[in-house]
């Protein structure tokens, strides 16, 4: 601590502080980076945070094997190199990896299906941590189970490392569609929905009233172009994660900056057209149907 604080009046790690962190990321782009040099490119482009990881999802997919939390030394180097928040991933259910990331000073932990799950039964009890968590979801029930465990932010799972936006669109449409279905329902009907989607009633009731998730909801998994990012924003995302899409493209610095502008001006086609010009090649990408079902990352977690 740089100076004396009156500890008796301070409250750390409250829901307001954790969800508040996610709110500060709204309208922004979080970029996957694998070293300090990439982190600086992301910061310069206007990223709101970087996700520090050893291999981007496209490489994890290509190389196979067990994907784990990144080397703490590599995460520390990235923390020291930028002034924006640094996020990092732990395996689903691996609460010790989460403890390690918290002790390193990571600003948000992504309990991510991109890494190999560590617990066959449970996700991390995220309420126990001071640092906020973001978790992936494919539908409303999954999102609300994660929020009940303490997630301060949700992102669509999409299909990471494919450069193919269709799964992110699917998950966003499924979540938003279900949210809209809840409108005007009475309490007994909401209780039935809660049972059907295996989510706590208090959260279903809150979503019905707010007509949105009670936490910030970003898009992730397959976003590769400024138009992809703007598409997700027009579908109601609060911001986007771009994983392999930036540093697997021909000109990462330009593409990063273009995606940042497309997220801010997501409803202005002229701006999206202008930033999309001569960006060089996007990442090659993968057609989802060519990935065997048991190798789809979105199937991890429940």
């Amino acid at each position: 601590m740089p100076f004396e604080l009156d500890m008796s009046k301070l409250r750390y790690g409250t829901d307001l502080v954790k969800r508040g962190f996610a709110k500060m990321q709204q309208g922004g782009v979080v970029m996957d980076v694998t070293n300090a040099e990439q982190a600086l490119i992301a910061e310069e482009a206007g990223a709101v945070a970087v996700m520090a990881l050893e291999r981007v999802p496209a490489d994890i997919r290509a190389q196979g094997g067990v994907a784990r939390m990144s080397d703490p030394a590599m995460i520390e180097k990235i923390i020291d190199s930028v002034t924006i928040p640094v996020m990092a991933k732990c395996r689903i259910g691996h609460f010790v990896e989460a403890q390690v990331l918290e002790s390193l000073g990571v600003d948000m932990i992504d309990e991510s299906e991109v890494l190999t799950p560590a617990d066959p039964f449970y996700h991390v009890t995220k309420k126990n941590f001071t640092v906020p968590f973001v978790c992936g979801a494919r539908d409303l029930g999954e999102a609300l189970r994660r929020i009940d465990e303490g997630a301060a932010m949700i992102r669509t799972k999409g299909e990471a490392g494919t450069g193919n936006v269709i799964e992110a669109v699917r998950h966003q449409r499924v979540i938003m569609g279900k949210v809209r279905e809840l409108k005007g329902k009475e309490e007994p009907e909401l209780r039935t929905v809660a049972r059907e989607i295996q989510a706590p009633f208090y959260l279903v009731e809150e979503v019905a009233k707010l007509q949105r998730l009670p936490v910030i909801n970003f898009a992730a998994g397959g976003i590769a172009t400024p138009a992809d990012a703007a598409l997700m924003m027009q579908l109601g995302s609060d911001g986007v994660f771009v994983g392999s899409g930036i540093f697997k493209s021909d000109d990462p610095a330009r593409r990063a900056k273009a995606i940042v502008e497309a997220v801010t001006h997501f409803d202005d086609p002229a701006v999206i057209a202008s930033v999309s010009k001569e960006l060089g090649g996007a990442m090659k990408g993968v057609e989802i149907s060519t990935i065997p079902e048991d190798q789809r990352l979105q199937e991890r977690g429940w």
């Binding site: 009046k9 790690g13 409250t14 502080v17 990321q25 709204q26």
Partner: protein
Amino acid sequence: MKAGVVAVQGAFPEHVRSLERALANNGHKGSVITVRRLEELEQVCCLIIPGGESTAISKLLSRHGLHDQIVRRAVEGMPIMGTCAGCVLLAKEGDDEVHKTGTELLGLVDMAVDRNAFGRQRESFEAPIDVKGFDSPFPGVFIRAPVISRTWGRCKVMAAHSGKIVMVRQDNLIGLSFHPELSEDTRIHEMLLGLL
């Protein structure tokens, strides 16, 4: 009349809601709009620059010419409030982090700021804050918050926490390092409307 919230990045929806409630409480007739384009800035009679990432917000303000026009309106006397990252941007002097990232400050308030002064996200906190002129403490939410390390000239201190300045006012400009838009208390938003 229209009140504006800069919406290039950050917690702008929360500020829109707080301002709408403050307008209703003050009995003002008017609406709140988000500001991303020069045409939108021209319509508003007061402005909030929200929290978010100051590096991202400053780059997005510069790319589309909003930066210079906000400075012009401020000098003409439009009330502007900056919270957290927005407070950093109002300052005349930044810290090493501001210089290192090439963040272009608006340079309006006679103060120097220190980014992330309390630490990283795990050091973010809630604490009651005594604000000059308020008869009860304000619920302060500090998220990777800056502090105001020095003031001079016309800048007046409005609140401090553990000996550090966390809120200032200079004529038509208000800067604070915490997030009134995350609490239910609208007194600080009403203070901005009171400058109209």
